[in-house]
């Protein structure tokens, strides 16, 4: 058996839930909505679903983790959707929704399931986001919290500050990308920034959170969910929309060296390793890609991943994104435009572009890539094509 890259699996359905900064509905309702939309999108029913996969981790570092309210794991979805024909289930601990998707692809290729539902739900209850109130600092935190390094935006600012210093760049180099990216979400009612454009000047004047990360370098926390259905290719052809065949996939993005904090050089090594393996697995290269979807949990990951996946050289990510002949990136606004949905904007757009159903359609798109996660907490990527 040739694994992976056999075109033996395809993504056949996609669905976003409604998205809100603070929703009166629990996360579980958003997850049910996205999952139902994804299954209905391809014309299947819940009786057809015989596999489920998710990245169930809580979407924030503190607070409760009740299944169906703060998180939505495989148990919650199996019971709430009443999946009586379930034969395979998987929860991944790293790499977010695309790592879950990769396992679903593996299950389909191995014959363990025919139609797998994959989702990622994000919850944003009221309260100060990401605030850690602790009198004690345990584990590795004992070497960071006592210095005030106890908020995720600060933690992720560290590799970005190093990159800006190393390559002599500044926030001004990011401004055009973030502004243009917002334009791709303002006309979509399912985006958290629907109807709210962002100028270059507004970006540059926006409130600093933790240097060099300002408010609009962070994806806006929301409650919402994205879901897809992965099917065995032989069945995919008979479904409602054109299948997005899986040309190859990789779940990796782990550092090879121990460190107290994320170091830019270590991230780059890990990200590049993922990129090399991705193209090796697919038999394709970045030059074959018509449209790319790169993780944007923080803005800087877009130029980083453009470099690490080989679309340009290291240190040239900003230039690549600004170049007129570069591959269109995050054409649905990604998470920076739609809200903090952990890679589901990337995955769903990669499918819809190949189906010819994207809001900002790239004419004749035949090959897309979707990637999510970071090279310290796990990342994953998939290359899709509408050609068998």
């Amino acid at each position: 058996m040739t694994l992976p890259g056999g075109r033996g699996a395809a993504i056949v359905g996609t669905g976003f839930s409604d998205v809100a900064r603070h929703s009166p509905s629990p996360l579980g309702a958003h997850v049910v909505q996205a999952c139902r939309r994804a299954v209905e999108d391809c014309g299947l029913t819940m009786d057809d679903i015989d596999g489920v996969a998710t990245y169930p981790n809580p979407s924030r570092p503190v607070g409760s983790a009740l299944d169906g309210i703060d998180v939505a794991g495989v148990n919650y979805v199996a019971t709430t959707l009443g999946l009586t024909n379930l034969g395979w289930a998987c929860s991944v601990t790293q790499g977010t929704v695309i790592a879950a998707l990769v396992e679903a692809v593996h299950a389909v290729l191995a014959g363990a399931a025919r139609h797998v539902l994959v989702w990622r739900g994000m919850s944003n209850p009221p309260g100060r986001y990401g605030r850690v109130e602790r009198a004690t600092a345990e584990g590795d935190h004992q070497f960071t919290y006592p210095y005030g390094l106890a908020h995720n935006v600060m933690v992720f600012a560290l590799p970005y500050a190093r990159y800006l210093w190393k390559y002599g760049r500044s926030r001004a180099d990011m401004a055009a990308f973030v502004s243009r990216n917002r334009d791709r979400a303002v006309d979509d009612p399912q985006s958290v920034f629907h109807g709210r454009p962002l100028s270059v000047d507004e970006y540059l004047r926006s409130r600093m959170i933790a240097t060099p990360l300002s408010l609009y370098d962070c994806d806006m926390p929301v409650t919402g969910c994205g879901a897809v259905v992965v099917s065995v290719a032989g069945r995919a052809r008979d479904l409602r929309h054109r299948p997005a065949y899986v040309a190859g996939q990789v779940s990796l993005g782990l550092p090879a060296h121990q460190s107290l904090v994320m170091q830019y050089e270590q991230l780059a090594e890990s990200g590049q390793r993922l990129g090399v393996r991705l193209w090796h697995n697919t038999g394709l290269g970045p030059g074959d890609v018509d449209q790319a979807n790169l993780y944007d949990g923080f803005s800087f990951y877009v130029p980083f991943w453009a470099e690490w996946l080989g679309f340009c050289k290291e240190g040239e990510g900003f230039d690549y994104l600004a170049a007129p002949n570069s591959v269109p990136v995050n054409t649905n606004g990604g998470a920076l435009g739609r809200g903090r949905l952990h890679g589901t904007p990337q995955l769903i757009e990669a499918v819809r572009q190949l189906q010819g159903r994207a809001l900002h359609q790239v004419d004749g798109a035949r090959v897309t890539v979707a990637q999510a996660g970071d090279p310290s907490h796990g990342a994953a990527a998939v290359v899709l094509t509408n050609e068998v």
Partner: protein, 141 residues
């Protein structure tokens, strides 16, 4: 203002804090292959020896990266905004980094690459001496 988070030493990390209490910066080191580790590890990541202990280091390093907390994100640090948090790479080994607040540094324009040396901050809670760093004289990057 709430208390700052207080370190909770374990068998693995106690050597670091006990040395700090004596104003010594000590880092865990493999007795077999001499590799340094921070935070401390249960097994050497290079040669897999379990024979690890703490050795004093020079206390010299360079600023690897930094961030400035621009608003009160972290309880206990409300009065310290803007709070500089620096990552210091020790001279002893490439990639061996600690977190620090740059004692005596005014402003927020942190010089990446500049030379720093260890300093010790009197404990606020009367318990934990916190290793810190400050710029060395003529430390421009």
């Amino acid at each position: 203002v709430p208390d700052r988070p207080r370190p909770v030493p374990t068998d693995l990390t106690r050597g670091f804090w006990e040395a700090a209490a004596r104003r010594v910066l000590a880092i865990q080191r493999c007795r077999d292959c001499a590799q340094w580790f921070h935070p401390p590890v249960p097994v050497c990541c290079r040669c897999h020896s379990e024979d690890l202990d703490f050795d004093a280091v020079s206390g010299l390093g360079t600023i690897h990266s930094y961030t400035v907390m621009a608003e009160a994100l972290v309880p206990g640090f409300e009065t310290d905004v803007p709070l500089v948090v620096a990552v210091v790479e020790l001279h002893e080994q490439d990639g061996l980094v600690l977190v620090s607040n740059l004692i005596g540094f005014e402003g927020t324009d942190v010089p990446v690459g500049a030379h720093v040396e260890v300093a010790f901050e009197e404990p606020q809670d009367g318990e934990f001496m916190l290793p810190q760093f400050r710029l060395r004289d003529g430390a421009a990057a």
